[in-house]
Symmetry: C3
Subunit: 225 residues, 3 copies
C-alpha cells in the first residue's frame, strides 16, 4: 500500500494527530505542514513539522500528496484556505475512507475527503472537496454535500437534501429530506432540521432537563431496581 | 449470485431507483411494476416499467420473485397493499439485507424485509413482513417489529419493545425498553419515546433554538477559535 | 477459538441470556453464576445455574474465566461489586468485542469490557474495567471512559471528554468535547450534554410534542401523500 507518493499532513492539532493514526498504515508520512506562527513542536511522532511558507523547498509538490487535517474553526474557513493553497502549489490532495464505510458505487466524492468508520452513503449522492464525515453517519439518496462541510458522528441527512459549503453538523443531528441548508449553517448536536436555512444560521438543541434527584434514587423511582 | 429467479421491483420512485442499485448486483432485474395510473417512464435503467394490472401476462408469478420498494406514504398502507397483492398473485417476495448488517442468529425475519448498512439486530428479536430498516439502526434484544413498519437511519429500539404494524420512526429516534407502540404511530426525528402509544399517535421533536448570531461569531463566543 | 479457558457468565437476566448468544461461539460456557437469592432456574440453555456462594467449589478460579453480564441496576453498583468479587476470587475476567467494532490500535481497554456491533473508538481513547458499550456508539479521540460505565446504542462522545465511573448514557445521547462527567451521571436518551456534570446528576430529554392529528392525516398535511 505504501507505493503511493509520500504524504504531507496539514495541521498539528488533535485532528492532525488523529489522522496520522489512520493514515500511517497507508502512506509514508513525511511532514506535518503548519502555519509558521502555529509551530509548537519540531517533530510529531518523529515526523518533522515544517513551516508552510517553506514547504515546497524540501517537499516538491509534484512528488508529494497532501491532506488537510484541521478542525472546523472559523466555520471551516481555515481548512478551506489551506486546501486551496495546497492545490495552487500543485500538491495532489488525497482522500481517506475508512474500509468499514459503505459508499454507493454511483456516489461522487471530491478531493481531501475524510470518511470514518461505519459511515454509509446511499446511491446518487455527492460529496464535495474537503468534507469531513465522522463515524456512523448516513447520507441518504441524492444528497449533495458541498465543499468543506464538517459532519460529526451519528448524523443522518435524508434523501435529496443539499448542505451548503462550510456547514457544521453536530453529533446525532438529523436533516429532513429535500432541504437546502445555506452555507455556514451550524446545527447543534441532537438537533432536527425540518426546513431550509440561510447563510450562517445557528440552531441549538433545547436544554436537557436536570432532574431534582440523584441517579440512584431516580432509577428506583423508574423501577429499574 | 444471479442464479435466483429474476426480480420485479414494485415502484418507480426514489425508493425503487435506490433499491435497484442495491439489488442489481444480486438479481437479474426484469421489470419495475407500477400502478397503472402512476406510470411516467417506459423504462428505468433500461428495465421496462410494467403496469401492475398486466404484470402476470409477461412475468409469470411462479417464475419471478418480487420486492416492494415504495416510501411510507399513507403510513405504509400502499406498501402493505402491494405486498399483499403480489403475495396473492403468487410471487415470491424476497428480502434485501446489506452484507454489513449484523443480525443475531436467532432473530426472525419476515418477507420483503429491507435492511441497510451497519444495522444491528440483537438476539431474540423478530421483524415482520414488509419492514424497512435504514442504516445504523439498532434493535435491542427481544424486540418485535410488526409488519410494514418503516425505520429511518440511526434509530434505536431498546430491549423488549413492540412496534405495531405500519409505524414510522424518524431519523435518530429512540424507543425505551418494554414498550408497546400502537400501529401507525409516527415518531419524529430525534424523538425519545418513553411510554406506550395508541393507534395513529404522532410525536414530534421540540423546535430547535435559532440563535441570534451568525455561525462565525457564535464559534468565537464558544471559544472554538 | 474454543481453546480458551471455559467461561462463567455472571447473571441470569436478559443481559446474561443475550451475552450467551454472543459468547457461545467463542467460549465453552460452563455455568451461569447468580446471587444465591436470585436463582430462578437450575439451567439456562442446558448450562447449569450456580449459586455464587458455591461457585469456587466446582469451578476453580485458576481454571476458568468469567464475565459479568448484568444490567445497570443501582447505577452499575451491582455490576461493579460482582466484578470485584470475581477478581478477588482469582477468576480471569474477559472482554467481548464484536468483530464489526473498530477500535484504534492505540486505544486501551480494561477487563470485562463488552463492545457490540459497529462501535468505533478513535485513537488515544481509554475504556476502563466493566464498561458496556452498545451498538453504533462512537468514542472520539482522547476520550476516557472510567470503570463500569454503561453506554447504550447510538451514543457519541466527542474528543477529550471524561466519563466518571458508573455513568449511564441513554440511546443516541451526545457528550460535547473536553468535558468531565461526574461519576454516576445519568444521561437520558437523545440528550446532549454541553457542560461538566456532578456526581449522580440526572439529565432527561424534553418531552416530545404529541400532535393533535392521527398519523395518516398528519402525513397528508405534510404533503407526504
Amino acid at each position: 500500500m505504501k507505493g503511493q507518493k509520500p504524504l504531507i499532513i496539514f495541521g498539528n492539532g488533535d485532528m492532525a494527530k488523529m489522522m496520522f493514526c489512520y493514515l500511517s498504515d497507508i502512506y509514508n508520512i513525511v511532514a506535518f505542514a503548519v502555519d509558521d506562527e502555529c509551530i509548537v513542536e519540531t517533530q510529531i511522532n518523529n515526523v518533522p513539522v515544517v513551516a508552510f511558507s517553506k514547504l515546497t523547498i524540501d517537499y516538491a509538490p509534484e512528488l508529494h500528496c497532501a491532506i488537510v487535517a484541521v478542525g472546523f474553526v472559523e466555520m471551516n474557513k481555515i481548512r478551506q484556505a489551506r486546501f486551496e493553497s495546497l492545490m495552487q502549489l500543485g500538491y495532489t490532495l488525497v482522500n481517506y475512507i475508512h474500509p468499514s464505510a459503505v459508499i454507493a458505487a454511483n456516489a461522487k466524492l471530491g478531493k481531501n475527503v475524510i470518511i470514518l468508520e461505519h459511515v454509509s452513503i446511499h446511491p446518487f449522492s455527492e460529496v464535495g472537496d474537503g468534507v469531513f464525515i465522522s463515524s456512523q453517519t448516513n447520507l441518504g439518496h441524492h444528497v449533495k454535500i458541498k465543499d468543506h462541510v464538517w459532519i460529526n458522528a451519528g448524523v443522518t441527512v435524508a434523501g435529496g437534501s443539499v448542505l451548503g459549503s462550510c456547514c457544521v453538523l453536530g453529533m446525532n443531528a438529523s436533516v429532513s429530506h429535500g432541504l437546502v441548508l445555506g452555507s455556514e449553517t451550524f446545527v447543534g448536536a441532537n438537533v432536527f432540521i425540518s426546513g431550509n436555512t440561510e447563510f450562517g444560521d445557528v440552531f441549538l438543541p433545547n436544554e436537557a432537563v436536570k432532574f431534582r434527584m440523584k441517579s440512584q434514587r431516580f432509577l428506583k423511582l423508574l423501577k429499574v431496581i
